[in-house]
Symmetry: C2
Subunit: 631 residues, 2 copies
């Protein structure tokens, strides 16, 4: 395959890459930081660069992020643009915010120091491979083998004193001499120290993998990451097998603590993770041995169950978890079937009901770096809201139920192949799109939101959520024990069963959206902010690739502000876990976020209860709060 040279300005850093490499990947390789929020998925539009010279190929969808004038100037999204020849890339100021800061601090450094600093700052996985070519010992220089490696590391990347475990220590003397003092060292960051976790003969820096895991109450998602480039190699998700023992965290805590179910719940989630990793490695023909680090993010209860730490006192007043900043472990210590070298980090929690998933989301959304006030609404089985900027951070949590994750409703399903994710009712007919485009198998969170909106809009359900008994519609079955509406006939589904939404499903959804909206509103009032003071709301959750913001506002799930101030950002728990996996600094920021975020406890907070009751309408009992809603 052809190789081309890419030069990044204004730094004049160059790298040679294979044809077809993404510009974002080339930047990582060159040690150049380009802002991006979505992890290179073409969603956030932050990685704006200017192709000043040379051939590239842009993904069509990515063009919509730019004006015609910008396109004429050569603008492109770094994550959606492939290299087809020697290229010169200019990074505009807005895409190099972080780097500017570093340059500012580094004013007194020489260029080499700046370069080194830049290389370390943006992309430095918590498990890194470093190739060392050491000089053999002589009588004049007969320091120990370990000290020779440590010295090599210091020369190359300037550490202090790395540690080493017994397992690796037993190997160093032979491995050093196997390929004439050329070795690849895997270096792991553990709190304030670095540890040599693995040593291999010759240059093996190209095989270094990591796994990011979102340990959700309803869904587990794992992502296999190339830790050399930060590239996502595969993503897999599945239902959390713990669900059979209880749908939400409270019922799982009861099962764990009152029925001796902790080992069962622990094994269930670990089995999930093992299966996801196995699937990805099998498909990509990648040896599991190459995985050096796992970073998991989950709510506090999930994190406890994942680690087999009793979660019992999370549920009981005064709501006390065992720990918030978890120690670093070996993945195998909790039963993850990976190399005994592979480390496991679980992202820290804030409180009993605001966990590492939210910390990951706050990191992924860049809230601690923002001058403006930013909100994050993470809609899962629990709904959590975090608001803040680089000065302060507050958060709260509300129990939402699994409806938005596709659980707890008659035909709900995860946002995966065959799920109805978009839906419109026109002239009595239901038009929908499924994920993957095939036959429908069920309806996911975003489909449910669309569905409820369309049902109200078309007068089929009332603001109360009850079916309008005056409507005649062949799809509407009012005579059933629980009345329902047919979304898809049995002839058109993949399962041969009809896909429906029942009055009880709608009731569930109203309670879920009511809990979340009440939490947003209570938190805003608690801190004394108006919606117009929030620069941007990021909405996260397992809705799949899509969330119709307009419709989500219209059912009263999201506040009625200008649509372009609300952005759907997908699974920020997973994205944050990936960022922490790929960046020591990212991981450290998670700890800082967890320690500095103020948790507002809503469970005994009367205004929240009032807000909740008021929100149990479509869109709300107080229609003045939703002036733009057209029904």
């Amino acid at each position: 395959m052809k190789r081309y040279k890419v030069v990044f300005r204004p730094y004049n850093k160059a790298v040679e890459v294979e044809e077809g490499t993404k510009i974002l990947e080339a930047a990582w390789m060159a040690g150049v930081y380009i802002n991006n929020l979505c992890g290179g998925e073409g969603v956030c539009g932050e990685c704006r660069v200017i192709i000043s010279e040379g051939d590239v190929e842009r993904e069509k969808d990515s063009l919509s992020f730019f004006s015609e004038e910008e396109l004429a100037q050569g603008y492109a999204l770094a994550c959606q643009t492939y290299i087809k020849g020697d290229v010169i890339v200019d990074i505009p100021a807005e895409a190099r915010l972080e780097e500017e800061k570093i340059l500012l601090e580094a004013e007194d450094m020489d260029s080499e120091q700046i370069q080194r600093r830049l290389k370390i700052a943006p992309f430095k996985p918590i498990a890194r491979k470093i190739f060392l070519e050491l000089s053999p010992p002589t009588m004049e220089d007969n320091i120990t083998d370990f000290e020779r490696i440590a010295r090599g590391l210091r020369k190359k990347i300037g550490w202090h004193s790395p540690e080493i475990d017994l397992l690796t220590l037993r190997e160093i003397s032979d491995v050093l001499r196997e390929e004439e003092w050329k070795v690849t060292v895997t270096l792991v960051k553990d709190r304030n120290t670095y540890r040599i976790q693995r040593i291999e003969p010759s240059n093996r820096v190209d095989t270094n993998l990591g796994v990011a895991v979102d340990v959700g109450t309803t869904t587990i998602v794992a992502q296999l990451i190339d830790l050399r480039t930060g590239r996502i190699l595969a993503t897999r998700g599945e239902h959390n097998s713990q669900a059979q023992f209880g749908e939400d965290v409270i019922s799982r805590i009861i099962y764990a603590c009152d029925k001796g179910g902790l080992p069962t719940l622990h094994e269930a989630v670990i089995d999930n993770v093992n299966q996801l990793i196995d699937e990805m490695c099998l498909e990509l023909k990648i040896p599991k041995e190459d995985i050096n680090a796992v970073v998991a993010a989950g709510n506090t209860t999930m994190s406890h169950l994942f680690l087999k730490i009793p979660p019992c006192y999370i549920r009981l007043q005064p709501y006390v978890p065992s720990i918030d900043v978890y120690p670093q472990m070996r993945a195998m210590e909790v039963g993850i079937k990976l190399s005994e070298r592979c480390i496991l980090e679980v992202l820290p929690s804030v409180s009993s009901y605001v966990g590492g998933d939210i910390v990951a989301g706050v990191l992924a959304c860049g809230i601690p770096e923002s001058d403006e006030i930013i909100g994050l609404i993470d809609i899962g089985t629990n709904g959590e809201i975090a608001i803040g900027n680089k000065e302060w951070l507050v958060c709260c949590s509300a129990s939402a139920g699994p409806a938005f994750e596709g659980g707890g409703t008659t035909c709900g399903m995860r946002a995966t192949k065959g799920a109805i994710e978009k839906l419109e009712i026109r002239d009595g007919d239901v038009h929908y799109e499924t994920i993957g485009g095939g036959r429908a198998r069920g309806i996911c969170g975003s489909g449910l939101i669309d569905c409820v909106y369309e049902l109200v809009k078309n007068g089929i359900i009332q603001s109360s959520g009850k079916f309008n008994k005056d409507i005649k519609d062949a799809r509407l079955n009012l005579d059933a024990d629980i009345p329902y509406y047919i979304i898809a006939d049995r002839e058109e589904t993949d399962t041969g069963k009809e896909i429906v939404i029942s009055e009880s499903d709608i009731d569930h959804l109203i309670k879920s959206k009511g809990a979340i909206f009440a939490a947003i509103k209570s938190l805003m009032e608690y801190i004394g902010l108006q919606f117009d003071q929030i620069h941007r709301f990021y909405v996260a959750g397992g809705f799949g690739n899509y969330l119709n913001i307009r419709k989500a506002i219209s059912i009263g799930l999201l506040p009625d502000i200008e649509e372009d101030r609300i952005r759907f950002v997908g699974n920020t728990s997973l994205k944050g876990a990936k960022m922490a996996l790929c960046s020591e600094e990212g991981f450290e920021r998670c700890v800082a976020i967890a320690k500095s975020m103020t948790n507002i406890e809503l469970s005994n907070y009367q205004p929240y209860m009032d807000e909740y009751v008021a929100a149990l309408f479509l869109p709300h009992t107080d229609k003045r709060l939703f002036p733009s809603v057209d029904y």
Copy 2:
């Protein structure tokens, strides 16, 4: 049992203890430091105190350390004096050297801070138990369980952020609530951090044990220590089972590296340690679960084999060990059958041939705190010499063979029950004493030294080490293939076999003592010092309780200086290991010693070879070096 109050002046620190407690133990309990070198065995005479008021009982032997005038003033050895009533003890300046330093530094502190400082400084085991009475969480104070413990520790003893491992983390929530927030935490020092290693309900500070191990080439000695008081509960030794695979480190390295014998050698020494610990625990009816820390000291090869680290390049030029400062481990990681909580530290080495045993010895002899120049001669299968003061440290090593440890000679044995340890020839008759006083089973190092001296003194052997063929003596058998001298008839021995010393045994001994004396002399000349500039020589080794310094000088093992400048201090490897076990600061000093000591490599040093050849006589080819020797 009656309890009495002991007050230590000038600090006015008081403690209540049981009748019969040693003053040294009472001092440890009160957090008062009293100098001592020998670990409370009544040997070093450093723990001088004055009993100003009250009833005590002194061990008779300990009186010889004082003049009559001193005895009249109330002088006593703290480690040999038992409390029989309320007592006031004055600690004279010479016994509180360390403490004075602390007081000096602490001048600006208030008395409580001084007290705390004093308490921490002298006696702080690397695994400590701390009793915490915590306040239960409330809605206003609902920090995590872990943070509550950390806060409790900070309040009580002022740590920073302790770490915790998964095993203990899984227990904290239940244990905290078992006895109403009263818990005992075992805190372990690991490099720059503290780790919570165990948590137990209620107050369990009275069950905290440690094991110090001297991993010698010929002999393994283990000591069970009460980590609350520093008291030695039991000491056990046995032959290193590795000896069947080779007598010295070189032959063991060859067996490990050229014959795949590393696992075998590793298991042999670990089996030894397991057996010694089992024996001690069984005899004292102590549960092994209570052992929280093991500190081992050995030469570099032994330390590698103990940890199953390949020792192969120690033997080959340029003599490179895998590591010098070993990481902290769990004892079970190397196969020691103790609790999975129990940590293992192996004391750091200086070089391939100066190991943790010497580092321990330097610590035990207080060389790094000394203004005067002090020498340590550790006589084992290897002989190592360290010389220095608080400004500098140098060392070297010479292969001595196992003769002084009772190996490699016809009737040699370890310094244990039945070993002849003292010997005199008067009027053709051999008079000897055995360890334990029973029938003779063999002859240990100190007995061999006496024996060779007496044989020369009585003209039975010549300066060359050959038997004098002109002597008529019924004990002398000159007609055997290898001529020998009968020390004990078969009728008088425990084994029913006669105990003899052969010409070949004597030859071995001459080579051993020659190697050690040559090493001492070469090192002195290398650094440009004269013997009279050495304030004191400490002689260490597995000779048992006894070494006749006069006779050791006379055979040319030790330099001919004033006898009172040479002190036999026993097994300093074990003593240093115990000090490092009982004191974080002691452990840290070991690392500092290992890093700062300059190793002089004798193996390719021609002056050493010349000195060695010159020393192969009794006492030496150059008699001017031994002016005081009376033959």
